[in-house]
Symmetry: C2
Subunit: 158 residues, 2 copies
Amino acid sequence: MNKIKLNAAHDHDACIRSALTRAESLCQKRGVRLTRLRKKILELIWQSHSPLGAYDLMDLLQASSDRERVAPPTVYRSLDFLLENDLIHKVHSLNAFVGCNNPLHKHSDALFICSNCGFTDEVHSATIQQAINLSASQNRFSVKSQVLEVLGLCENCR
Amino acid sequence: MNKIKLNAAHDHDACIRSALTRAESLCQKRGVRLTRLRKKILELIWQSHSPLGAYDLMDLLQASSDRERVAPPTVYRSLDFLLENDLIHKVHSLNAFVGCNNPLHKHSDALFICSNCGFTDEVHSATIQQAINLSASQNRFSVKSQVLEVLGLCENCR
DNA sequence: AAAGATATGTTATCATATAACAAAATTACC
DNA sequence: GGTAATTTTGTTATATGATAACATATCTTT
C-alpha cells in the first residue's frame, strides 16, 4: 500500500494525539500500564493510520528510536496488551494491526480498509449488527465474536 | 476444535458427494481441470466440514493415501486453484480453509463458524449485504471485497 | 511420437507468531 | 529507603503459515 494521502477533513496529528490521550486515560481507569514501549507502538500504529504488520513495527521501532532492534516477542506482547485493552484491532485478512477508534465500547465494528492508501476506517453500524444477529438467530447460531473487514477504495482514492 | 457432531438434518456423506459432483461439473463448464490431487484435497476439506489448515491437509493427505508426504507448495497450489474457482473459502481469522456451498454465485457470504465443533455454515444474507453497502456508501467507500467471519456456537453445541 | 502447455515434485527460504527462561523495571510492603 | 513480589522487557530458539525458483512429470494437441 502506498503512503496515505491525508484528506483535508483529517487532521492526522490531532488524530494521533487524541488517540494517545484516550489510551492514557483508559489505561488509568482500568488500572493497567501504558508503558513507554506500548505507547510507542500505539503511536506508530496511529501514525501509519493504516494496517501495520508486527515486523513492520519492529522496523519502525528500530528506525524511530536509536535503540537496538527489538525481537518479535517484545512487539507481540505489546500488541497483545493493546488488543486486550481494545486499543487496536487485528486485521486478519492482512495479518496486521490498526488503531481502534472507540476503545470504550465493547464493539464489533466493520473495518473499511483502502487497498490503495491503507487508510482504515472503523465504523459502527447498528444496521449491520442487527443484520448479522438476525442471520445468526435464523441459523440458530449464538455469536461470540465476529470479524468484518471490507476492502475497497476510500473517498480519496476511488 | 472437537470432532464435528453431525446433526440429524445433515447427511454428511450426501453433502460431500454433492459438493464433489458440483465441483466436477463446474470445472468442466469452466474448462479447468479438477485433477486427482485437487479433488482429493477438496474431498478432505468437505469431509472435515470444518476449517482445515494447509498443514492439516498435508497430514491428512499423507494418512489417507499411502503416498509420501506432499510438500507445502503442492497443497497450496491446489488450494489456490480451489480458491480461484470458488470451490473453497479461506477463513482468515483461523488461517484455514472450508468448502464453499454455492460456487456459482459471485458471493460474499458470511461464515458462521462453531468454535466448539468447527462446523461452518456459509450464509448468504441480502440484509447483511445491504447493510454493508449502505455503510460503505455513507462513508464514500467503494467495496471491492469483504470478509465476514462469525465465531460462536452452532445449534448442536450451544 | 513430438512439442507445447499444464500440473506436480523438490529444495530452500521468507513471513508470521509463540514458548521458555533470564534480566530489568516497577510496585507494594515493611 | 530497602527488600520482596509482581510485572514488563530482553533473548534464544523454534513453531506455524506461505511462497520463490527451478526440475520433473503428465496431459493435450497435432
